[in-house]
């Protein structure tokens, strides 16, 4: 790059010699010179990163692989020099299914298979949009009911331990593990998005009362930590309800999560609504559409399309935030792992457990964020 500083006194331009044409080089040496040591700072940064990589990778490899214990059945097999993966292996089913009766795991597996069968056609480009929307609405409206019924069972049949009836009742207190995390995330997302859209429309509305109420709700829910809302739902909500009316812990946690998350979705959708050019509103008005038609056919579809990446981003935070339910006493995957590490047969294997949970969350959240990146590019949403 030519870096010339034409100052005021050099008013007459001097002709510079022609630049040489750039040399086309593709060798590894050239690439390294250009990308690793192009300048002193670059060299320094490369050395620093080499150092960090060496220290971190070596430490991790040492603990997770080289000194780790892979075989055995009790904690005595582990020498505590490195990771003890037997702990994860022995407790694995617990981490996934919580305290659900082992003979009834197939019910949960069935719910997962059902989800996979429904989600595949929704994401496939080849299938007609109309069909994809149909599957999508099945997933949102029908699937949760079937899923809940399958996991819960028939309330009148109690489970006996040795030979449970295939449709017997498993109360929510037995739910837990990864299954709980997924239930909380899925229900949270599916219920919060529509409420969030309504709140966003309310905030953009011309009616002062509706607008004011939406703003108050959104700002309060966004202004406080989720943990205080969960406390509200678990401790204060029962006080506000008439005596005799009671929700179980899971429902209370869900109410808290939905309150919190819908406020965040509302702000995301509002961003989209505000980004639509004024002309769209005016054209819809000029065409004689009423408010419902204008929102349903013109503004909302465009707004939602713009904010798809942000909605996925917010959903990722929601999935991560479900781990907070441990504080009000629900056993999501993190809570199950923490409890298992306090088991006297497996004392002090917190780190292995945390690494395992971190890996599960990471896989889910990272794949979701990659998918959002893909959608962003597919729909051609330009950042600037």
């Amino acid at each position: 790059m030519v870096e010339r500083n034409y100052q005021a006194e050099n008013s007459a331009f001097k002709e510079l010699p022609d630049r040489q044409s750039p040399i086309k080089e593709t060798s590894i040496g050239y690439w390294m010179r250009a990308n690793l040591f192009s300048s002193f700072t670059s060299l320094l940064l490369t050395l620093i990163s080499l150092f960090i990589i060496a220290v971190v990778i070596w430490g991790l490899l040492d603990w997770t692989v080289l000194k780790a214990t892979w075989t055995g059945t009790t904690q005595d097999a582990c020498d505590r020099e490195g990771a003890c993966w037997i702990f994860i292996g022995e407790k694995f089913l617990n981490f996934i299914y919580g305290y659900y009766p082992q003979l009834l795991y197939w019910r949960i597996n069935l719910v997962v298979i059902l989800f996979t069968l429904l989600i595949i056609p929704v994401t496939l480009k080849r299938i007609a949009l109309r069909k994809r929307l149909l599957y999508g609405s099945l997933l949102v409206f029908v699937y949760p009911v079937i899923g809940a019924a399958l996991i819960l069972g028939v309330p009148s049949i109690t489970c006996n331990v040795s030979d449970p009836h295939p449709l017997c009742y498993v109360p929510t207190t037995k739910w837990g593990g990864l299954m709980m995390t997924l239930i909380l995330s899925y229900v949270g997302i599916v219920v919060s998005i529509p409420i969030g859209i309504l709140l966003a429309l309310g905030r953009m509305s011309n009616m002062p009362v509706i607008k004011m109420l939406s703003i108050i709700f959104i700002e309060i829910c966004r202004g406080v930590p989720l943990i205080t809302i969960l406390f509200m739902a678990s401790v204060v909500l029962p006080i506000f309800l008439p005596p005799g009316v009671e929700f179980n812990k899971l429902v209370r946690a869900l109410i808290g999560i939905i309150f919190f998350q819908s406020a965040y979705y509302a702000e995301v959708v509002r961003g989209g609504l505000q980004a639509i050019p004024k002309g769209q509103h005016e054209a819809a008005d000029a065409a004689g559409l009423n408010y419902t038609q204008k929102t349903y056919y013109i503004t909302l579809p465009q707004a939602l399309k713009i904010v798809i990446p942000s909605i996925v981003g917010t959903s990722i935070s929601l999935a991560k935030d479900t781990s907070l339910v441990v504080i009000i006493g629900l056993f999501d995957v993190l809570a199950i792992v923490t409890t298992s590490a306090a088991d006297s047969n497996w004392l002090g294997f917190d780190s292995e457990g945390y690494v395992f949970v971190a890996f599960i969350f990471w896989v889910f959240c990272y794949s979701m964020s990659r998918y959002s990146y893909y959608l962003e590019r597919k729909y051609g949403i330009q950042k600037h």
Partner: protein
Amino acid sequence: MSDFSKRINSIYNNTRVRVIFFQGATIAILVVIFASVIVNMFANMERRGIPVGFDFLSEEANFGILQTLIYYTETSNYVRVFWVGVINTAVVAVAGIFLVTVIGFTVGIARLSQSWLMVKLTIVYIEIFRNIPILLQILFWNSILRTVLPKPTEPLKLGSNMYLSIKSLVIPKLAPTPLFFVMLGLLVVLFVAIWYINRFSKNYLDRTGKTIPNITINLGLVGIYIVAVVVLFGNIFVIVDPVPSKFGYTGGSDIILEFIALTFALSFYHATYIAEQVRASIEAVDKGQKESALALGLKPSFVMRIVVLPQALRSTIPPLTNQYLNLTKNSSLATAIGYPDLVSVFAGTALNQTGRAVEIMFMTMAVYLMFSLTISVIMNWYNKRVKLVER
């Protein structure tokens, strides 16, 4: 169509009538809900034998707190508990905000560096840390520090006068002398001088077209000040070294391990968002801006400083403050590892002891709302100031 149904139709389709009807109905429903909530609340509290009101605040708390920065004993009342909690939250927030800014900006700029390896390293860091729940990260840091560090009886000695163990980091206590306040005054003078030099050099540039090396002068002044502080450190503060004794240490101040774990976890988590934001806003500045600045003959260092950065800053500041707020709110997860923040001591222990759920939750949420609303008011004002004027 009969005359009557026509009239009904026209009322039904009248926008003003509809608007009033909708809003009236909403208010009516809300009033009914609120009334029943209040009636239920009094009924439920009476059934549990717990009175409603804020009089419990003057009762004795009867429990100890791990970290108190204001005077607190077990005989203090619940108002004190509340303030201890608020201050502990504020301390984590301030320390976290400082650390997260340093890490976030460092990573964000490293993300744009020329070194391919460094770029990949920052991407790996960002993708790992932002996709793992913050609660898990807090628990993880806490557990790692507890595994790695030695017992309080045989602490790790850092330097000549600091001791690190699984209980706390003990550092020397610094007591300010009169000179401290002189130096504080000089700091204000320094800021005023820098501001004045910058303004003068800008005016001079506007008038004559010649530049004054204002950056060099300012850096020189700051350098002199820092050297003075380092040289006079022993005179600015009276340093009280901690001396190990039978039970803990005499002299020195304690930084509890929960605080360290929490601050680091929060900073490393939120720094990923800040780093991405810093990168995005620098990249978002239109390429043409940089190119035209270069075409005008500005030096590359000038291009960054007076063309790219001011425009990048405009889009960085709001999300940055947002992250600061999120960090403050997430500091409430302290309760998971037992750091005595507001949620932990007030909405936790105090609530369990008194059973005054409604009042305590109301006060706790009000504190966080105060933080958020103050920040968002300032942000709105700032956004209005720096917004591009569009027609």
